[in-house]
Symmetry: C2
Subunit: 209 residues, 2 copies
DNA sequence: GTCTATACTGTGATAGAC
DNA sequence: GTCTATCACAGTATAGAC
């Protein structure tokens, strides 16, 4: 379906001098797949592209992962990116969001699994997995720590703003967001986020380890 | 690149009893393309899919639009969705955002051009066009109406929150956001957005027509 | 002028022989 | 662990039927 230009675009530097053992082959494939899927989405990525980037033959994708689908699943199953939310003190949430947004990997690194899923968002299973993960962390775990009504909604709005800000900064790259300093960014994030968390009223510290 | 399942999935109801003239053929193709591209992205959509949905032959895409690329451009060049921002009173912005988020088309309608672009976001030209449009409306036009420092940044954060909330609600469909009532949603959107606009301080009305 | 049939060429995913 | 064949489907072009 792609033109050849599509497939070759933005060639990802192939791993050099790869060791010829199963572990490093698997690792090289996973890494190359994360880059390709993250940048171009599921449909925009071919198995041959991934294999070329990894410096191995396309057939090894099937040897090690079974199918393109299965490899995508491995790569797009999100990491532990949101785990800190489980016990981060509420007053540090805005700064944590700032860090996530500010350090979001850009062009040359592996994009967020979230962006990977969005770029492949016609894959319903992938969207479903992401929804489950976000629901679990935000709507359940994190919302429990919020006082007041509509805790789930407020937690989800936090996730929405995290997503929107990250996307605008790294995927769309609007000018001001792309160039803002960390401290200025924090200022405005705090202004939007803290009211959502019912800060700055007093609140007791959580007792997380 | 697609499996056949991919191509046939979610068949869009073909137009019935189409008139055989240029205008209605063009319209049928445009409509079918918007649906397909919006749901499945550029790579996930074939010209033959679009033509089948529209009830015409694939060759007509080339007759009327020249190429798949050109058709995508027509469809993904965003509508006037953000135009109201140019002169909407600032205190009505939150409600406008709420309306956009709440009335965002869901599964069975044409998705937002924004989602269409994101799902095709390996298409750099499409992303560029979207960035230009957002920059023009938010960072330039709308930012001029904001008092205080960092107006462009604050305008872009508004666009980020609009995007994030819409995506979480319609694409990821987290539970609380997907089911919240309009009035509750407005309450929390206002809490996040108004500080960004420097409301509720006094501000003079704009003099838009 | 509006559409249909069909052909051409490349690339996709995958399986099986080496 | 690699190479090559297979075969469906992609985008595109054109020739001609209504």
């Amino acid at each position: 379906m792609n033109t050849s230009a599509e497939s070759r675009r933005g060639g990802v530097a192939p791993s050099q001098a790869r060791k010829h053992d199963a572990a490093s082959t698997r690792a090289a494939l996973t890494r190359a797949a994360a880059l390709r899927f993250g940048r171009y989405g599921y449909n925009g990525t071919s198995v041959r592209d991934i294999a070329r980037d990894a410096g191995v033959d396309a057939a090894l994708v099937y040897r090690y992962f079974g199918s393109k689908e299965a490899l995508f699943e491995v790569v797009s199953t999100s990491t532990t990116m949101f785990e800190p939310l489980r016990c981060l003190p509420l007053e540090d949430v805005a700064a944590w969001v700032r860090d996530v947004v500010a350090n979001a990997p850009s062009e040359d690194e592996v994009p967020h699994p979230v962006l990977c899923v969005l770029r492949s968002s016609s894959r319903e299973e992938a969207v479903g997995r992401l929804r489950d993960e976000i629901s679990e962390i935000f709507s359940e775990s994190f919302a429990k720590r919020l006082d007041g009504p509509d805790a789930e909604l407020r937690a989800e709005l936090l996730s929405a703003w995290l997503l929107g800000t990250t996307l605008m900064r790294t995927a769309i790259r609007t000018p001001a967001l792309a160039s803002v300093s960390d401290s200025t960014l924090l200022k405005y994030l705090k202004a939007g986020i803290d009211p959502l968390l019912k800060l700055p009223d007093d609140h007791e510290r959580t007792d997380c380890p």
